[in-house]
Symmetry: C2
Subunit: 607 residues, 2 copies
């Protein structure tokens, strides 16, 4: 059979050529990673991805895990990651990760294979309405037709470049391409006789288009700058007055941290850095930096004595209720929010000004425009508060020689059995090698990280799914981050169990999973439902899973630790595995009642 003689009738060849054109154009536009879930209808695209040398393919059976893995991969690389799956309910499994990507600003390309129009609504197998499947949660949605002979490759190449661009600006996020294919899905000939992509005749009117077309020039990046008048007015109202900069999480560019500290220095104000700001563990000048605000803002007399004239926020709204309450208490202060275009990060509705645009440019412009710092005493009061909180924190981790021999049942503060988040987190971060990525789970893990991480000059990169703040997909996201290098995932037992299938993607990757197993949803202990007789059944909901078997299901190494010394030993073994490129799961068993008591005592200490 001569393939070139029948291009118009061999649908399989048309499908393959169409898929190769699209995937080649995605590669040309900068896509370097694809996550594929197995299926039939997606066959032409799966093959095109697997045969595109510029794109690294990961295969994941569960589409939900695939999507969260892609999310993690995109977070770590800053590049859009392509997802591919078959028709039917398969792409619906992407939805939670799509929502997280939309909320958190992570670029994803959602390529759902579909059945052609004539099969829709006629009771055909694995056929559902996939148009606008992700509703308002995508930046753009492109519904294609099934490939036909002579399709316009110039259009298809530009669509690929456009989809990549739409996933990156003005706000990174997910873009959906729905791609129907008509059977036969592959060419009729033996695969060894198929023409290579380069040998395929280009469908008209492709040749003219593709010579002039380059994905780089067609859709270059762009930057959104604020109104200069707004910058000048803001700088005037910041200069010489007592202010606080609050930096939450965000996908900030490399130069951002230094730029923000330069602004803080020019204004001589404290800079409250949350864990996801990227400022806590980095080689930076630290005289402006606070990382203990969750502690020292509990001291109401300090708060009353240090009321700011203004607060400037960038990145996500703060994680902890303590900082949130302090912000809402600054009602008399001018509150300035720096937000990406289209975002209004002001859930308390207290902002007096929102500056939309690229955060780095806004901060650099403000630094140039401000003309006077606050009086030196202003920042000094925060430096003293930070130092006091730091001293209290140092006591938490230090062993108490008198209590050191106490057995588990006693758990005296400072004893080996006094093992809870306030001890675990500093010990863990102190031991991590420089350059580690840290993915932090939802609920209590991120709040405890905020309270107990401290900070230092050793660079660590922090990640979390704080767009929608779900406990879904966290293991898969961490595995996707670990594809970039050694990664710690710090998660609760419910978070790990929720994404038990995602552990499969840790295989062969340097992912150290530390599961804080406190027997259920620890965060609910601090919410009103804790007082209800139905609390354990309806809210705490301990997973009651055996984590040793969970790890062994995928051949992943496992350690268990219920004391400080056991945890230190487990951590050494875990890090040795990571150095070999293998994953390891450490189950840190924490007594929930002890942990709650120690949290409360810790909070009271600061009041």
């Amino acid at each position: 059979m001569s393939l070139s003689a029948t291009p118009a009738t061999d649908h399989g060849l048309v499908n393959l050529h169409f898929a190769q054109t699209l995937v080649d154009a995605l590669a040309a536009a900068g896509v370097r990673d694809a996550v594929i879930s197995p299926g039939s209808r997606s066959t032409p695209l799966a093959l095109a991805f697997l045969r595109q040398p510029a794109i690294n393919c990961t295969v994941a059976i569960d589409e939900r895990c695939a999507a969260f893995f892609a999310l993690g991969r995109a977070k770590a690389s800053g590049r859009p990651v392509a997802l591919l799956c078959t028709s039917g309910s398969a792409p619906a499994n992407w939805y939670p990760a799509v929502i997280e990507a939309a909320q958190g600003g992570t670029p994803l390309l959602l390529l759902s294979a579909d059945r052609p129009a004539e099969l829709h609504g006629w009771g055909a197998n694995q056929t559902i309405d996939q148009l606008r499947l992700f509703g308002s949660h995508v930046r753009a949605s492109h519904a294609l037709e099934a490939p036909q002979a002579g399709f316009a490759s110039g259009w298809l190449q530009r669509l690929a470049a456009r989809a990549v661009a739409e996933s990156l600006a003005p706000q990174p996020g997910p873009v959906h391409l729905n791609l129907p294919f008509r059977e036969p899905l592959l060419p009729a000939a033996d695969p060894r006789e198929w023409p290579q992509a380069a040998e395929l005749p280009l469908p008209s009117p492709a040749a003219a288009f593709s010579e002039a077309f380059s994905a780089d020039t067609y859709a270059p990046g762009w930057t959104c700058l604020p109104d200069p008048a707004a910058i000048a007015a803001t700088a005037a109202s910041l200069s010489g007055r007592r202010g606080v900069i609050v930096c939450g999480g965000g996908a900030f560019p490399p130069a951002f941290a230094e730029a923000l500290l330069a602004l803080a220095a020019a204004l001589d104000c404290p800079l409250f850095a949350e864990p996801l700001s990227g400022l806590r563990f980095a080689a930076l000048e630290r005289s402006q930096l606070c990382v203990r605000q969750e502690s020292f803002l509990r001291d109401s007399s300090f708060v009353a004595s240090a009321r700011p004239d203004w607060v400037m926020r960038c990145g996500d709204f703060p994680v902890t209720r303590q900082l949130q309450q302090w912000l809402s208490g600054c009602a008399a202060a001018e509150q300035i929010v720096i937000a990406p275009p289209g975002r209004w990060n002001d859930p308390q509705h207290v902002a007096t000004r929102v500056l939309h645009g690229d955060a780095l440019h806004i901060i650099a412009a403000l630094t140039q425009a401000v003309n006077a710092p606050a009086a030196a005493a202003w920042r000094q009061s925060f430096v003293r508060a930070e130092a006091a909180a730091e001293a209290l924190a140092a006591k938490l981790a230090a062993p108490d020689s008198a209590a050191a021999l106490t057995d588990e049942a006693d758990r005296l503060p400072g004893s080996d059995a006094d093992f809870w988040e306030g001890v675990l987190i500093p010990a863990l971060l102190a031991r991590l090698p420089a350059g580690f990525r840290v993915f932090c789970g939802a609920s209590m893990a991120i709040r405890d990280l905020d309270s107990f991480s401290g900070g230092g000059s050793k660079p660590l990169a922090f990640f979390a799914n704080r767009g929608a703040s779900g406990i879904d997909g966290n293991m898969s996201t961490a595995a996707g981050i670990a594809a970039a290098g050694p990664t710690l995932a710090l998660v609760g037992d419910l978070t790990c169990t929720h994404d038990i299938g995602g552990l499969a993607l840790a295989r062969g990757r340097p992912l150290l999973v530390v599961v804080i197993n406190n027997g259920g949803g620890g965060i609910f202990e601090y919410l009103p439902a804790a007082a209800l007789p139905e609390f354990a059944r309806g809210w705490l909901t301990p997973a009651d899973a055996d984590f040793a078997h969970m790890a062994a299901t995928w051949g992943i190494g496992y350690q268990r630790a219920a004391t400080r010394s056991a945890f230190a030993a487990a951590l050494e073994l875990g890090l040795a595995a990571i150095e070999r490129g293998d994953p390891c799961l450490i189950e840190a068993v924490i007594d929930r009642e002890h942990s709650v008591a120690r949290h409360r005592a810790w909070w009271e200490q600061h009041q």
Copy 2:
């Protein structure tokens, strides 16, 4: 604190009262089951469900598992099942099950808690756009406001009854209620001091409404009847001519099977029953019934000699390609499709008439209206074909004494090591006690069941997720069915692994899971991609999971079997566990190459 004195200002009390009114009305409208995933924003509704004695609550950490469990529960009970989760990406995890419910016609009530309007779009935590979250895949979507003091309880009660009714007719399916709550979520007082629901003052203008209102009378069921002229015309064209009735899967009422057989008897035509029709294993008159059509329709000379004048189909479009191809080959025949209102089950576009309405009523009306059977020889030719196929099938399962001692490497037909789906399925169904529910997984499992189940008078109830035919959520669905009584789940290794988290819901339920582990997506062996060098990596994708550890993660019993005798022994142990009310997982290890060879030999035998 006096609660009754401040009802307008204690938002927590308003929230709780609102939630109780809604949940009580759902119970009054017939809801008996709720599946709750833990969360904070959903607290008032979770508490109302847990305190409503008429509603049985199941708690599931993973919302995707929760939704598929609810799907299975609704399939087994025929009643709508309520789902509840918190705000954010949580309800998005329901999406695959929502789509399956919409496609498969299963009633679900989707209650998503939400944050109030003032938090939407302002960067607040766990806040996403939940309006129309499920797009075109719900029967109805109700967006509520956060409860306010003095809310109209008459409206809320009617909304509950209406949502239940919308989930049941004209086509059962999912209905979404989005329910924002404003903090504080619970009353300020100590829970022991809260008023009981009956003691709460009814918000105006509730009293008058609720006396006159009963969910039963407000939204009674309804039935859709076809046009009598269409019945008469159809009966005339069926009478005295050579026809075949094909019955696919469907949620048919109890009297349906006998009614359909009565019509077949009146027309003296064969009735091709698919596994999900409910006709294969039932105490029924079997002289009209065929269950081996997947085999005998492979005989082209038989097919040529037995061309029907008409084909009548009810239920889903057939599962196997063999029957699908036979249908498309009946181009000269009149093809009548009986479909629920709004459904057009005709993916081949060959139907000459579609009768919309209640299948039971249509069939009863046709039986009354037909006035002559076909000539007796017509049905006899199918009886002979069925008997011949049955005789071949009997040989598959029978041990060959000469080969019985052969070791595994040889796997001669009839030997103990000749262990594949064609042997496993008849052995399994033969051993199941009467009344068992059988949930069948996607892809090869359902096709093999079609080929090898046979039939008999022992009643078994068959289920599958054939709406969207995904491999997602199958373990959770099976667990939901097992909540009604002893259940077998027959699934492939990828299907089981895809829903590994769903196994948690098997705990404490009589669910026997038989995993056909043939090292990956066996169905792809029969598709074009099998010829590709990338086949194993991109399509077969073996899960490489350890099923013993997978079961042990949840404390579930485990057996492994790679031969006929080992499987028989494992089955006895598994059924003993089921009798105690415990789950058990049997890993049936099948050599893929042997299975493919035996499938092909089996098919060739019939040609």
